[in-house]
């Protein structure tokens, strides 16, 4: 297969993994973030946890696999982004530490203080990563202060606190509320009684807020300088990020929508998905609301990815050092091997995951939890 084609395929595949992560792990993170908001009693919180109980672990592998796939397909991104966003990534990891243990340990002891501590752990484990992912994406759109030397060693010159600027925080809010909404729609589908009712109302509210915040974000991006490649060597060949020149351009991040109008599908799907999530939640159609919410999440992530294209991580220190999907990839052979591995295993994963959901399907109630208190989370 042509190197150029493989590079495009891998941009799509990493996108698919990130969307897979947001759509699956996203709802259990959302459930975690809403744990204390929706769950008023111990049994209610256990209902919420147990709707994701059999699935959160498998869902989380989307995150881990996305990390591994970025390492394999875009080693330069893996190196520059994770060492640059050092504290942001560690914050995500530290927050996520609370999830496996929170789920597994929480209900094994009856002491309310023990359970309350782990409830907070699960809340943090759901909310903080969701927030940080958005903040990180926001900073990608603003450009990240790093340079590469001729040996390809990267140096990041920003600080963690500089990541928390107003635009990035807005992106963080979109991301957090989007996943909370997604969790809300999942709860509508999988619970009955007061939890279901509260999830329904909160999903409507969140869908509206996300739509407003996403629109503000879009307007803000139109006021930002985007990055544009001015001259580059053969993009389908062997290149490193040091072989091109890049310039800043007012509203440059919107260029792609003029050049490739089909990309407008992403924001349109996002807004329609959000609107339908609100309407269907109001109409008490949980499963359809969840599907709409999944489309909204996909649309929002694609909007960010399409706007940046072909950039992955622009450098604000020296724009010509920016990382793009043309110049950070592995060798042709590695991309080729990994393409076939993904083609074979992703469908297998999707089928047994679907089987798992099918087998565990149904609405959970507080009665069920009280009858099975020793064998559930």
């Amino acid at each position: 297969m042509e190197y150029e084609l493989l590079k495009i395929i891998w941009w799509v595949l990493i996108g698919v993994l990130l969307i897979g992560f947001a759509v699956t792990d996203g709802f259990d993170m959302g459930v975690g973030a809403l744990l204390k908001v929706i769950g008023k009693t111990d049994s209610e919180r256990r209902v919420m946890m147990n709707t994701v109980g059999p699935h959160w672990d498998g869902n989380q592998v989307w995150f881990i696999t996305a990390g591994g796939a970025i390492f394999a397909a875009w080693p330069v991104v893996y190196a520059v982004a994770f060492s640059g966003f050092y504290w942001a990534l560690l914050l995500v990891l530290f927050a996520m530490f609370f999830r496996p243990v929170g789920f597994e340990y929480r209900s094994k002891v009856q002491d309310p203080r023990w359970r309350n501590a782990w409830d907070w752990g699960l809340t943090v484990g759901g909310a903080v990563p969701a927030l940080v992912f958005g903040v990180a994406f926001g900073n990608l759109l603003l450009g990240v202060p790093f340079t590469l030397d001729e040996f390809m060693r990267s140096t990041y010159t920003g600080s963690f606190w500089a990541l928390l600027n107003p635009f990035a925080l807005l992106c963080g809010v979109v991301s957090l509320l989007m996943l909370a909404m997604h969790g809300g729609t999942y709860l509508q589908m999988r619970t009955a009684g007061p939890v279901h009712e509260r999830a329904r109302r909160i999903s409507v509210l969140l869908a509206v807020v996300v739509a407003v915040a996403f629109a503000i974000g879009g307007f803000w991006v139109s006021q930002l300088d985007g990055y544009v490649i001015k001259a580059a060597s053969n993009l389908g060949g062997v290149t490193t990020p040091l072989q091109k020149s890049v310039e800043l351009q007012a509203a440059g991040w919107l260029d792609n929508y003029g050049r490739y109008p089909w990309m407008l599908v992403a924001p349109v799907v996002a807004f329609i998905g959000l609107a339908l999530t609100a309407l269907l939640s109001m109409a008490n159609r949980g499963a359809l609301a969840f599907i709409s919410s999944s489309f909204a999440v996909t649309g929002i992530i694609c909007t960010a990815g399409f706007s940046l294209f072909p950039f992955l991580m622009p450098s604000s220190t020296d724009p010509s050092h920016s990382l793009t999907m043309w110049d950070v990839t592995s060798s042709q052979l590695t991309l080729h091997i990994m393409f076939w591995v993904a083609m074979i295993f992703v469908p297998i994963i999707l089928s047994y995951t679907a089987w798992g959901y099918y087998k565990m399907w149904g609405r959970l109630t507080t009665d069920f939890i009280e009858d099975n208190q020793y064998s559930t989370y």
């Binding site: 498998g58 390809m152 592995s330 992703v346």
Partner: protein, 529 residues
């Protein structure tokens, strides 16, 4: 120049996070198979006690597994956060097995573990059995891909340096997969995990036997664990990792360091059973040697020699000098000299480029290294001998102790008198930490023995780090230690609590603490669990 403290702290952080992770992995590897065997017995015989065994040991499995997942998260991302140059330099090869591990193994394990815990009433007996087996297969396949990645760090085959991209690139994926070092490591490591699982079940069952509680439950658990354990400990010892030490330069150095083999002796080499290695003077004091043994273990022959450290250092010095030339040629190529002669000359010396890079620890440009710096780099091209020598012997010693204990357990279990062997049962409880200590020692030998390389002969450890400040790493290190210790305390608390409670924690009404006569003394603890 890269700060030495950043290198040391980054190494310490990686070591500590890997050490923690490896506290949970071996038990997962072993216990998952033991659960699958127990459940097979349940499906075949239909006896309730086997299902209770799967559920109870499964509870303990879950407590352990949660921390395995937690600490494993770090490992997937830490190459990027702290070893950015490494990630760039070898990501083309090293990233692939990590990504494949996710797709092929980790998804399988993690998806089915949910069904294992919550699917009892939703799946048929046979479906649930298949789920349990898939969890075991998934976790073991995980180990396979991680050890393929690790084996490549020890013996980097199937890859070449590309000066355009300034990194190693994959030439043959099958060579990477069928790397003999990786294969040997995989068998040795998973077997060690099986031993850990067996020792865990044996020790806790021994505790119930000594307390004369839930005997039918304990007896059956003991029987399965002792037979599974015996096969595993034999596999660990017979298929020891040593056979892999003949392959690849780094492995040879490791072997010499483990054996404190300063000189190259006439074959077959003797095995140093005990001694005090002295790195300064390059000799081993008070050595007790077994003739022929090392040559037989390492080379499987009486005629091949095992190379000594002094000779290895001399060879490395030659390669370092050659590497300086390679580095100089690389600089010329990077500066734009793409003449065929320069490239051909560089290609002929590229295998020693890594040795040239060793000098970067002492001088900005290796071409300008002084004689002293070259000698120093050669001296430091082998790991410290004493830690290697001792950790290896602790691992092997514990291995043989476990062989005896598991062998006796198997014998008495087969005879049906295990519950009367008070001394054996007590010894098993005391020996419970042994498999963990042995596993960590083995891990130490493999990774400390790789120094000063992160990728054997190709990329020195000190070049591999990210450009971060000392403060960053101090703080993250403190964060990891703090979080992990907190979680470990919670884990140990639950593990001990549930192990003491035993199968009564299932609340089936069939076990010790649920019988009226026994409830008084611990009514509080059983009510809470």
């Amino acid at each position: 120049m890269i700060s030495e403290s950043v290198v040391d702290l980054s190494r310490l952080q990686f070591a500590i996070t890997a050490f923690y992770h490896f506290l949970f992995v071996p038990l997962t590897l072993g216990l998952s198979f033991i659960l699958a065997i127990m459940e097979s017995a349940y499906v075949m015989t239909g006896k309730q006690v086997y299902q209770d065994m799967v559920k109870f040991w499964g509870k303990l499995f879950g407590i352990n597994f949660a921390l395995g997942v937690t600490t494993g998260l770090t490992m997937e991302f830490q190459f990027g956060t702290n070893w950015a140059y490494y990630s760039h330099y070898v990501g083309d090869i090293f990233g692939a097995p990590l990504a494949i591990e996710g797709l092929m193994a980790f998804f399988l394990e993690s998806t089915f573990i949910g069904l294992f815990f919550f699917g009892w009433d939703r799946l048929t007996k046979v479906q649930h059995l298949i789920v349990t087996w898939l969890v075991a297969i998934g976790s073991n396949m995980s180990a396979l891909w991680i050890l393929i990645a690790n084996g490549w760090m020890q013996n980097p085959v199937g890859a070449e340096f590309n000066f355009d991209t300034m990194r190693m690139e994959m030439m043959s994926f099958s060579e990477v997969i069928f790397n003999p070092v990786a294969q040997v490591k995989f068998v040795h490591t998973v077997s060690a995990g099986y031993v850990t699982g067996a020792m865990f079940v044996l020790a806790i069952s021994a505790y119930y036997m000594l307390k004369k509680r839930d005997l039918p439950f304990a007896r059956r658990s003991f029987a399965i664990a002792s037979s599974f354990g015996l096969a595993s400990i034999l596999s660990v010892i017979v298929l020891g990792d040593e056979s892999g030490y003949e392959i690849g330069e780094v492995q040879k150095v490791k072997l010499a360091a483990i054996e404190a083999e300063w000189e190259t002796h006439e074959p077959p080499a003797a095995f140093t059973l005990f001694g005090i290695p002295d790195q300064e003077n390059m000799e081993t004091d008070y050595a007790i040697k077994i003739p022929y043994a090392l040559g037989l273990i390492a080379t499987r022959s009486v005629t091949e020699e095992v190379k000594g450290i002094k000779d290895l250092i001399a060879e490395h010095e030659v390669r370092i000098r050659n590497g300086m030339v390679a580095y100089d040629l690389l600089t010329q190529i990077k500066a734009g000299d793409r003449s065929e002669a320069t490239i051909a000359e560089f290609r002929s010396r590229v295998d020693d480029l890594g040795y040239g890079l060793l000098l970067k620890k002492y001088v900005e440009n290796p071409v300008n290294a002084t004689e002293e710096q070259i000698k120093l780099a050669a001296q430091n091209s082998i790991p410290r001998v004493a830690p290697m020598f001792w950790t290896f012997r602790i691992m092997v010693g514990l291995g043989f102790i476990m062989l005896v204990l598991i062998g006796l357990s198997f014998y008495y279990s087969a005879k049906g008198t295990a519950e009367r062997q008070k001394y054996l049962l007590r010894a098993l409880i005391i020996a419970l930490p042994a498999p963990w200590i042995a596993c960590e020692m083995g891990w130490f030998v493999a990774e400390f023995g790789r120094q000063p390389w992160s990728i054997g002969g190709i990329l020195p450890t000190h070049l591999s780090v990210s450009t971060r400040s000392v403060e960053d790493i101090y703080m993250s290190l403190a964060g990891f230690i703090g979080f992990y210790t907190l979680l470990l305390v919670a884990e140990m608390y639950l593990m001990i609590r549930f192990a003491r409670l035993g199968p009564s924690s299932l609340h089936t009404g069939r076990y010790h603490w649920e019988q009226d006569s026994n409830t008084d003394s611990v009514s509080t603890s059983s009510a809470q669990a």
